[in-house]
């Protein structure tokens, strides 16, 4: 039992570091998009497309990093499609998101059919646990470079939004389209770029799924990380660095089931698998209010939540 007391938390930490990267990239992407005043609910489809495209390219070229790049590019294309559809009058961004979720997963499953069997070269990892003799510690501290890039990006985005002109323009568009227009900025163009950038990041997050952990392509690869990203941004109060903390927390919650399974506790496996969703829902319930808008929420997002 005492062994389990060490193994389980260690497996959760390791799991959190492995599982959190897709959460991180999707939530950062959604954060960028929402800062400009638009919600992209279709990132789930973008994530799955990115996972498929990244895997396919890595398989064909032998370069996992090229796969990551193409995954981001495909994500950006989906972001552009979302942005274009939403720029049409009378078209609702939430509904477009649902539609692109259906289209993205459908296309990825269609085009990814031949990729289910093959293998692709995986992204490299840093062995930060090399000092330890314990196998579990080393496994837990095997950190993927892409995750480190995501951590750096979270801090960089905070600086971008707080300290730079570009960040200020995006935030202005997100707070008041009229004010931004009065200042001479093209609201549609800013939102289009922000949504494309958000799609790029979500695509990169997807490539992490197929190129590192779990590290293969199949139709059950994503379990809603793309959607949870949207909820994570609310939880993080539209702050990129808090997106990082939230992603680690949710990665840990997602690692709960496999960690318990590793020590032989298999009853309730599915229920532990639902932990991230229950956690998201509980946090949204606890932090939302029917009467006031949330602190930190871009005003152009309206009363949507």
């Amino acid at each position: 039992m005492s062994a389990a007391l060490v193994t389980v938390p260690l497996a959760i930490v390791g799991g959190a570091l492995r599982v959190s990267a897709p959460f991180l990239f999707v939530s950062l992407g959604e954060c960028v998009t929402e800062k400009s005043g638009r919600v992209n609910l279709g990132l789930e489809g973008t994530l799955v497309m990115g996972a498929m495209a990244g895997f396919g390219v890595a398989h064909a070229t032998g370069s996992p990093w090229l796969g990551v790049l193409v995954a981001g590019g495909v994500g950006a294309v989906f972001g552009l499609l979302h942005a274009w559809l939403c720029s049409l009058p009378r078209v609702n961004d939430i509904a477009v998101g649902i539609a692109l979720m259906v289209l993205g997963t459908g296309l990825a499953f269609f085009l990814g059919k031949p990729l289910i069997k093959p293998t692709a070269p995986q992204l490299p990892a840093l062995e930060l646990g090399g000092w330890s003799d314990v196998q579990a510690v080393r496994a837990a501290l095997r950190i993927n470079l892409l995750l480190l890039a995501g951590v750096a990006l979270a801090f960089a985005l905070r600086i971008l939004f707080d300290r730079t002109k570009v960040g200020l323009i995006v935030r202005t568009v997100g707070e008041s389209a009229d004010a931004a227009r009065a200042l001479g900025y093209n609201v549609t163009r800013v939102r289009t770029l922000a949504t494309a950038a958000g799609g790029f990041l979500a695509g990169v997050g997807g490539s992490f799924l197929s190129l590192y952990y779990p590290g293969s392509w199949n139709e059950g690869l994503s379990s809603g990380q793309g959607l949870m990203g949207v909820a994570l941004v609310i939880f993080s109060r539209w702050d990129p660095v808090r997106c990082l903390y939230a992603s680690l927390l949710f990665g840990g919650a997602g690692a709960l089931g496999p960690a318990l399974q590793a020590v032989g506790i298999t009853t309730g496996y599915y229920l532990f698998g639902a932990a991230p969703y229950v956690l998201t829902l509980a946090i949204m319930l606890g932090t939302s209010s029917a009467r006031r808008t949330l602190a930190g929420m871009p005003a152009e997002l309206g009363t949507a939540r």
Binding site: G37, R38, V39, L41, G45, L81, L85, C86, S87, L88, P89, R90, V91, N92, D93, I94, A95, V96, I98, A99, L100, V102, L103, T105, G106, L107, F109, F110, K113, A177, R191, G224, L227, M228, V230, A231, I234, T267, G268, Y269, Y270, L271, G273, A274, Y277, V278, T280, L281, M284, L285, S288, S289, A290, R291, E300, L301, G302, T303, A304, R305
Partner: protein, 375 residues
């Protein structure tokens, strides 16, 4: 002027555009688009046999479509039909087992009531969180879908599992008395009748009742509705319950008429396809009937496309995605042209183009997306 003409032309044109785009896609994938179209027709509508298959698949879609359609009139985008269907199926299995000795009609009725109650509560949760706590209903209903799938898998593979079901974990079967049979003279179960009835009743509820009117007021402007004395919270929760109950009945029917147990076959995306049906029908309960038939037929033809054209099973999903995107994009065309004048004198085309109002404020999830056009 010409508004009803517009309501007919735009969806049909959008459907045609979707089919052309889909044809281009399958052509790029190496298939002959004309063969694909023909197979879709043959597999979904071509023969009495395939049409009965389509009817059978359309029945749950009518019911899950209502799960998205009814809240849409409140200005809510609810996609919780999948979870409500699954938990409704579980509720129906429990009821259908408990009532082995009851008279058949009573047992089947009780089973459907149980499915409706469980599904209703599940979606009412989203409505309650929205109206009482301001939680976005789209995200909460999606999260509830994942939670429902986890609960479903846990119960089907755990406490409720029939030890006999080895390869395909299933619950204990329902009692014979609780099974739902076929409509006399057809190879289609009674679920089709329930679906048609539900769409008809929803039509009166949403379009011709005080509650429906109040719902559309809430969808238009929550504050104005509250000021005019409408109990916003209660109506929101009740209508979300009705919506979820409809999806729950879909689950109960699948159990009672098709599966006779609950198993992973039920996780077939009926709930998500129902959302697509609701949007394609532009949230009109009666339009949901032909749209369900159309999508039921498309789904039914999936197997034939796999066999004859060697296209993957996701082909149907691609078409659904294209349809969804094109239909939403076509929203922008409503009210833009005066169809009557367009039809009468094409040469006066320039005069027919009515300048469109400024776009709606972006990102307002609470906007009554489709409701205005239908009213």
């Amino acid at each position: 002027m010409g508004r009803s003409l517009e309501k007919a032309i735009i969806p049909v044109a959008a459907l045609a555009v979707s089919l052309v785009l889909f044809g281009a896609f399958v052509a790029a994938a190496g298939a002959n688009p004309l063969d694909v179209y023909y197979d879709m027709y043959r597999g979904g509508f071509g023969t009495w046999f395939s049409f009965q298959n389509t009817l059978q698949r359309a029945a749950p879609l009518m019911l899950t479509a209502l799960c998205a359609l009814i809240p849409a009139h409140l200005g809510l985008i609810v996609i919780g039909g999948e979870g409500a269907l699954l938990l409704g199926a579980l509720g129906a299995v429990l009821a259908g087992r408990a009532l082995g000795s009851a008279p058949p009609i009573l047992a089947a009725t009780f089973m459907m009531v149980a499915g409706a109650a469980v599904g209703g509560v599940w979606v009412a949760l989203s409505g309650a969180m929205r109206t009482l706590r301001g939680v976005n209903e789209t995200i909460s209903s999606l999260l509830l879908n994942y939670i429902a799938i986890a609960l479903f898998n846990h119960l089907v593979e755990g406490p409720l599992r029939d030890p006999v079901s080895l390869n395909k974990p299933s619950t204990f079967p329902i009692a014979d008395a609780a099974t739902i049979g076929n409509i006399p003279g057809m190879d289609v179960h009674w679920g089709l009748v329930f679906g048609l009835l539900a769409c008809g009743l929803s039509y009166f509820l949403v379009m011709h009742s005080v509650h429906g009117f109040a719902a559309r007021m809430i969808g238009g402007n929550v504050r104005a509705a509250a000021l005019s004395g409408i109990d916003v919270a209660r109506l929101t929760i009740v209508l979300c319950f009705v919506a979820g109950a409809s999806a729950g009945i879909a689950g109960a029917v699948e159990v009672g008429a098709v599966q006779h147990t609950a198993n992973a076959t039920l996780i077939a995306g009926y709930g998500y396809t129902g959302v697509l049906v609701a949007f394609l029908a532009r949230q009109h309960p009666l339009a949901a009937i032909p749209v369900s038939l159309l999508l039921g037929g498309i789904n039914a033809s999936g197997g034939l496309l796999q066999r004859t054209e060697h296209l993957p099973d996701a082909t149907v999903k691609v078409l659904q995605g294209i349809l969804f995107v094109v239909i939403l994009a076509s929203e922008t065309l409503y009210g833009r042209y005066d169809w009557k004048i367009l039809g009468r004198a094409a040469e006066r085309k320039s005069a027919a183009v009515v300048p469109h109002a400024e776009p709606l404020a972006p990102a307002a999830g609470a906007e009554p997306t489709q409701v205005k056009g239908v009213a």
